[in-house]
């Protein structure tokens, strides 16, 4: 019960740290989407480039997060941003690229040629085809990519507490340093619950954004 007491006693602090966590994950997800989705769409036109971009994002993903923070610190320190939220947000944007780009690419590639032809037959131009046909069909998979990225980012943002980015990881960091189990548990539990909630929330978004036509089709095929 100590953990719950701890959270209740420090609720203002908990709210602030949660807000910091949401802020970091949210802003990086928005920027990552703005980069990743267009990039994923562009590379569907160029197989060679697609392979290179996805491989690059894959290598990026392989780099352990704490090592990335470590390697970025000296570089960002040159502009006086070695510690704090800047390295955290940059890292989160970089890590989000693989799930977002890959899902966008795969989803757009998998739009059936017949749907595309139907759109063309209706006199749609390239842009309309993308906006009215390809993106709506691809949206569930794209959102699934965002969901993966968001959940992963929550975990990495927790580690970012060690480079002074704040967020709920601060409780884990301080708790371990002070051998204060209630604090560690509070941090670990809150981060986990946050991740699980976001996962469930994004699953809901996925369902809401799926066009009704596709939902009906799925039901019929089941």
């Amino acid at each position: 019960m100590g953990t719950i007491d701890f959270i209740i006693q420090n609720y203002a602090d908990v709210l602030f740290l949660t807000w910091e966590h949401i802020f970091m994950v949210g802003i990086s997800l928005i920027i990552a989407t703005a980069i990743g989705v267009p990039l994923g769409i562009v590379i569907t036109k160029n197989e060679k480039l697609a392979k290179k971009v996805i491989n690059g994002a894959n290598v990026m993903m392989t780099v352990p997060s704490i090592a990335l923070f470590g390697l970025m610190m000296p570089v960002l320190a040159l502009i006086g941003q070695g510690l704090g939220k800047t390295p955290a947000i940059i890292a989160l944007i970089l890590y989000s690229q693989l799930p977002i780009i890959r899902n966008t690419y795969v989803a757009i590639k998998n739009v059936s040629p017949s749907a595309r032809n139907a759109g063309r037959g209706m006199g749609m131009n390239r842009w309309q085809l993308l906006k009215e046909v390809e993106i709506p069909i691809a949206i569930p998979v794209i959102v699934a990519g965002l969901r993966t990225a968001a959940v992963m980012n929550i975990g990495i943002a927790a580690i970012a507490a060690y480079v002074g980015a704040g967020g709920l990881g601060v409780y884990i960091q301080n708790g371990i340093d002070r051998v204060y189990p209630e604090m560690i548990l509070a941090g670990a539990l809150l981060v986990s619950i946050f991740a699980i909630l976001v996962d469930a929330g994004m699953a809901l978004v996925e369902r809401v954004l799926t066009p009704t036509g596709i939902l009906i089709q799925k039901k019929v095929s089941e």
Partner: protein, 244 residues
Amino acid sequence: MNAALKKIYGMLVALLLVAVGIGLQKTGTVALFSDPYDYPELIRLLWQHLYLVGVSMAIATVIGLAVGIILTRPKFRAYTGVVMYVVSLGQTIPSLAVLALVMTFLGIGAKSAIFALTIYSTLPIARNTLAGINAVPSSIIDAAKGMGMTTMGILWQVEIPMAMNVILTGFRVALVINVGTTALAYLIGAGGMGDWIFTGINMMMTDKLIAGALPVTLLALLADFLIEVLRVLLVSKGLRMTEE
């Protein structure tokens, strides 16, 4: 046009490498790597890191494969949904939180770190084993039955080889995450390369920071490469040919 672009690209890469080289020299990382006192320490930490990764991955592979295989047997198939749900829920929990949670119950040291790493690595392996075996077309299993193969024979000679590619993907995810999470194991007193990274951050010693982060990064990339090698060795020739 294209040739000119390639030249510019090559020059940029060369410039970047030179800049990284100057950076490594200026921050004193090169000196650190060749320091008579620090160099043995680096080797010791690297071994510690590899030990944590090796032990936890070995246990996780055995448990993950076993869980995946058992859950695809007809008797236990009913529980597949529940177990998959728990596994994906477990994967949602951040790695640092898993380490912290385990530490509050088991205390500090290598044992708790190995325990946390093992649980965390088991999830992707079990999940992919299950998904891989379930994805084997029933027609192939029927064909094997028609040839008079026993259940065990079907498992070892048909289902596992067919699922190997997916299993290896799960293994790759587990291994890469494991190498990265082991860097955090320092926080719960298990040592490893995280020692230098966190010391570097806390004391603003750039040389130590880079000397810790660089080997971990290379280790993760090496692990990724290792899986590609395993793929060539373990996935049957026929399957690789149909893929291409």
